[in-house]
């Protein structure tokens, strides 16, 4: 009962913060928009060329955009002291962290997923490919946030944590990147994307099971 109250409170607070501070989701979206709109200028307007790079650019853009919100996960709370409320709680820290990432994934994931098919228009991608890309992004954002939470927890009290977080997290997202972009590529080539989607789902489940535990351990180490 108390665990439910605590996880509910963590989830609710994250949602309240998301609604209260527009910059939390507006910044990643604007960043995503800029990345996606710069490439067509650089590559030229041939639609065949754009189609070829579009999937990769949009997927990487979405990954980088969700990276932007990683420092927010614990850093702000560490500064104002509210992280201690979570650390001192008798409820399992991993579950509280999971509640927090879930809320962030829902908010940020929804924003990026909605933006993806719109930006796919820049690259003359067909609707079915754009739809598959949106689905891939929806699966990739939570995976990235889960992996990123470990780095964010480790670097919570380190200066210049944002760059280090990127260095630690981005290599770990390569499998998600390969299969996420791969699924959309399959649809573009008229093949079935099921295998790629299943693998992406498997990565998400693996991250769901392991990352909160690792993040909790990292947070305990870095704040002790």
């Amino acid at each position: 009962m108390s665990l439910r109250a605590a996880t509910g409170a963590v989830f609710r607070r994250e949602m309240q913060l998301f609604a209260r501070r527009k910059s939390d989701w507006a910044n990643p979206i604007v960043f995503f928009l800029i990345v996606c709109s710069l490439f067509p200028f650089a590559v030229g307007s041939e639609s065949e060329k754009l189609k070829l790079i579009g999937i990769g650019v949009i997927f990487v853009g979405a990954l980088l955009a969700s990276m932007l919100s990683l420092p927010r996960l614990f850093e702000e709370d560490a500064r104002d002291g509210s992280l201690e409320l979570m650390l001192a709680s008798s409820e399992p820290l991993a579950v509280l962290i999971l509640a927090r990432i879930t809320a962030l994934s829902l908010g940020l994931g929804a924003a990026l997923t909605v933006a993806t098919p719109v930006f796919a228009l820049f690259y003359a991608l067909p609707f079915d490919v754009a739809g598959m890309l949106a689905l891939s992004v929806a699966l990739a954002v939570p995976t990235l946030l889960l992996i990123g939470a470990i780095a964010a927890a480790l670097l919570v009290s380190a200066r210049g944590g944002a760059i280090l977080t990127a260095v630690l997290v981005l290599p770990l997202t390569i499998p998600t990147l390969i299969f996420g972009a791969g699924a959309a590529l399959r649809v573009l080539n008229g093949q079935s994307p099921v295998a790629e989607l299943a693998l992406q789902g498997a990565f998400l489940l693996l991250a769901l099971a392991l990352c909160p535990l690792a993040a909790a351990a990292a947070l305990k180490i870095s704040t002790d």
């Binding site: 409170a9 607070r13 104002d80 002291g81 201690e84 650390l87 001192a88 002790d224």
Partner: protein, 227 residues
């Protein structure tokens, strides 16, 4: 007024799963390190209910470190901390005590009420709107309940964040661990907080306090610990 609440809530104790006040705190040969260097060693003390424990010592003596260990936020390098209930069963620091450190532990984008109910939920306290309002009233900041924390003055922030300590269903239910609580408070509020500490002690709580200010607190029993 305070005792009125004790009596008034007495009947609800069973229904709400009321936890007995903590009856004792026992530190045995406690030692702590920071950055590989010993901060203090061999601290042993027994604290009974209704006791104010003043932790004294110069800057850097490890007062905050000690309080954080008592709150379960840090691990001692040696020795043990035991919070015990009256039936002598051991309790976790989070069930037994509430910690108020230098930082306010409130998010600036959220309202006072949102911040406090979040803190209560994580501390395992069932915080009713009535408790919330009562806690803020006791610190004279009930008008700020729906204000964004970021829009408050420093003194108001401190008061609103201290209200966290008063959210428990019944006075004396939790020990208080206060790290320099009088900083940034005006003289009236200092006296008000001192009175609240006195009432909490009278209701059966343990209060551990570090303070450089000499504020008089009316304590049934007082102990000092020199680090």
């Amino acid at each position: 007024m305070y005792c009125g609440y004790c009596v008034g809530l007495g009947g609800l104790q069973g229904a709400r799963g009321f936890v007995n006040p903590c009856s004792s705190l026992r530190l045995e040969a406690l030692a702590a390190e920071r950055g590989g260097k010993a901060v203090f060693t061999d601290v042993s003390v027994n604290v009974e209910a209704r006791t104010l424990l003043r932790v004294l010592g110069p800057n850097g003596a490890g007062k905050t470190t000690l309080l954080r260990i008592l709150a379960g936020l840090g691990a001692p390098s040696a020795g043990s901390v035991q919070w015990r209930a009256p039936d002598d069963s051991e309790r976790s620091p989070n069930e037994a005590a509430m910690f108020a450190g230098h930082a306010n532990a409130m998010n600036e984008a959220l309202t006072v009420a949102e911040n406090l109910s979040y803190a209560a939920a994580l501390a395992g306290i069932d915080c009713t709107p009535m408790n919330l309002r009562r806690a803020l009233t006791q610190l004279g900041v009930e008008k700020l309940i729906n204000r964004r924390f970021g829009s408050l003055s420093q003194g108001q922030r401190k008061r609103a964040s201290l209200a966290r300590l008063l959210l428990r269903a019944q006075a004396g239910e939790r020990a208080w661990l206060l790290d320099e609580p009088f900083v940034a408070l005006d003289t009236d509020t200092q006296a008000q907080l001192a009175a609240l500490i006195g009432e909490e002690l009278a209701a059966g709580a343990i209060v551990v306090l570090t303070s450089h200010q000499a504020v008089a607190i009316n304590a049934p029993k007082m102990q000092e610990l020199m680090l």
